[in-house]
Symmetry: C2
Subunit: 309 residues, 2 copies
């Protein structure tokens, strides 16, 4: 019976919350940065929960802490429960729900942010939180409910299900005309020999896109030594826009570039590298939070529409 839960002490919402915070942050220290008192408290709360449940919820792994199998399950359970309570509270108080949407930094900036008002509208005025993550960890975040929705490359999603296509991405070579001879054409721009002489900006985030560009250059025979190596594609675009250098930008990144000032042409070596960007969700999570598959497909369409505007 449920009353067994209360027959012995050691269980409280605060403890569950403390444990969940540690689970989300990945370590106690990150869960309470700069607050050593709270750290010791979370440590104790976890120990008390472990006593209550009679199981190790955590495993020492080096000098840091990670979750055991049981801990993973409990963390998932607690997040769902607290979120259900919070949704109930918000609904009763007449407040909008809030959804967390994750994507890479450039996708957020170029695609998601412009679409946020329309998304919120379709979700009944929901509050939206954007979170920047790497593709890899986004899948995990969706799986265990830290992120409600993700915009992510299709190949980074374990299964093809629970996704709706948003757009296909291609790569474009963008060269400020100031760096070219007067009257240069797209044909001129397609020459690797030219690329070798140009100053380039490139990402250096170690992500798939970054790697692909570098490999493509290599196999085109270019000794690719970008003058600027940036932490994100956003910075690459800025440099291109300034006319400081050339760059390879994904479809999303060329919107708003002035074709009079920048020559934009498909980047041939990555012509077949086009990847689909999809909206990804956790079906169980979405069902709990009141979104049907049809809502999600509509959301994907809304985001895709953003590109046409």
């Amino acid at each position: 019976m449920i009353n067994d839960l209360f027959s012995k002490g050691g269980l409280s919402l605060d403890r569950l919350r403390g444990f969940m915070q540690m689970a989300e942050a990945g370590s106690i220290a990150k869960a309470a940065p700069g607050k050593p008192n709270r750290q010791s408290q979370i440590s104790r709360q976890i120990r008390e929960l472990e006593q209550f449940f009679g199981t190790e919820l955590t495993r020492r792994k080096g000098k840091t802490l990670s979750l055991s199998i049981a801990g993973e399950r409990l963390a998932l359970l607690i997040r769902e429960q607290l979120q259900d309570l919070e949704d109930f509270r918000k609904e009763q108080a007449g407040l909008p729900k809030s959804f967390v949407i994750g994507a890479g930094a450039s996708v957020i900036e170029w695609l998601l942010v412009p679409a946020l008002p329309a998304i919120s509208r379709h979700l009944g005025g929901a509050t939206l939180l954007t979170e920047s993550h790497r593709s890899r960890s986004l899948g995990d975040a969706v799986r265990d409910g830290r992120v409600d929705l993700a915009i992510i490359r299709q190949d980074a999603v374990p299964t093809g299900a629970n996704t709706a296509l948003v757009m296909k991405m291609r790569f474009h070579l963008c060269i400020p005309r100031a760096l070219l001879k007067r009257g240069a054409t797209e044909r001129d721009a397609a020459s690797p020999a030219l690329w070798q002489t140009l100053a380039f900006a490139a990402g250096r985030d170690g992500g798939q896109t970054d790697t692909a560009v570098r490999e493509a250059m290599q196999s085109a025979g270019v000794d690719f030594r970008p003058r600027f190596e940036c932490g994100s594609m956003l910075q690459v675009r800025q440099l291109v826009e300034l006319g400081a250098c050339a760059g390879i930008l994904p479809t999303l990144g060329i919107r708003g570039l002035d074709e009079k000032k920048v020559l934009i042409t498909p980047f041939a070596p990555l012509r077949d590298f086009g990847r689909a960007l999809v909206l990804h969700w956790n079906p169980r999570q979405m069902r709990r939070r009141g979104l049907e598959t049809s809502d999600l497909k509509k959301l994907a369409a809304i985001i895709a529409d953003q590109l046409k505007a």
Copy 2:
């Protein structure tokens, strides 16, 4: 964000539990019988929760209390959450889960109890709790998770889904041979004229079975005045077994009756009244608790097998 839940006080597991107890019992008084102190506490806990959520969870209905729409939802939510926590605890502690199985009193006695060991075995050694309910309220109990499984007449289940057939029930006229002339046959027993002269025992629980029997007698032209009117069919069977009177028993109730002492024959007026007994469950609830549809169908088969033994 989930942290909003903790930004203001007034939420605690104890309060949620107090509210849920009231919700299950139907009133504060029933939730804490004979404990006026606990009563006042639950009353206060509910008020504090209402303040926390900013909603009325209860409605005064006469001198007693009932749940509002929001209250119903919250109660359902809390029961699920506490049960999930309890399941987690049990699992981690290596203890078996516990399941609540509901049915009518006679079904429990005649069908369910003999099958309990096999059911427990199939559920991995689960602890089983039987609960006697009327058909009508069983449906509700399954719907909101107070009862995990129910054995119930098919026509008492709102939708045909979420059920598996256990058996078909028919009605049998059972007459102690001591009340008949020596050498009486089944044919003799089928005469309404005889019925009129026999002492009968009948249920008087106002249930569908009871009503059907009385109506059938009436339309057979019998002025049906049972000598014994019993609260349950169990008592009817006892009286028949004692040889004190005749009775109409469902298929389940004739097992173990000594045919040498009791003449058992189909009760013709209710020949087409046969009703299916099904195992009924709440799919959402069962998914949460780790039972698949296939498990449940197997359970129904296990219970059905009980009849052959």
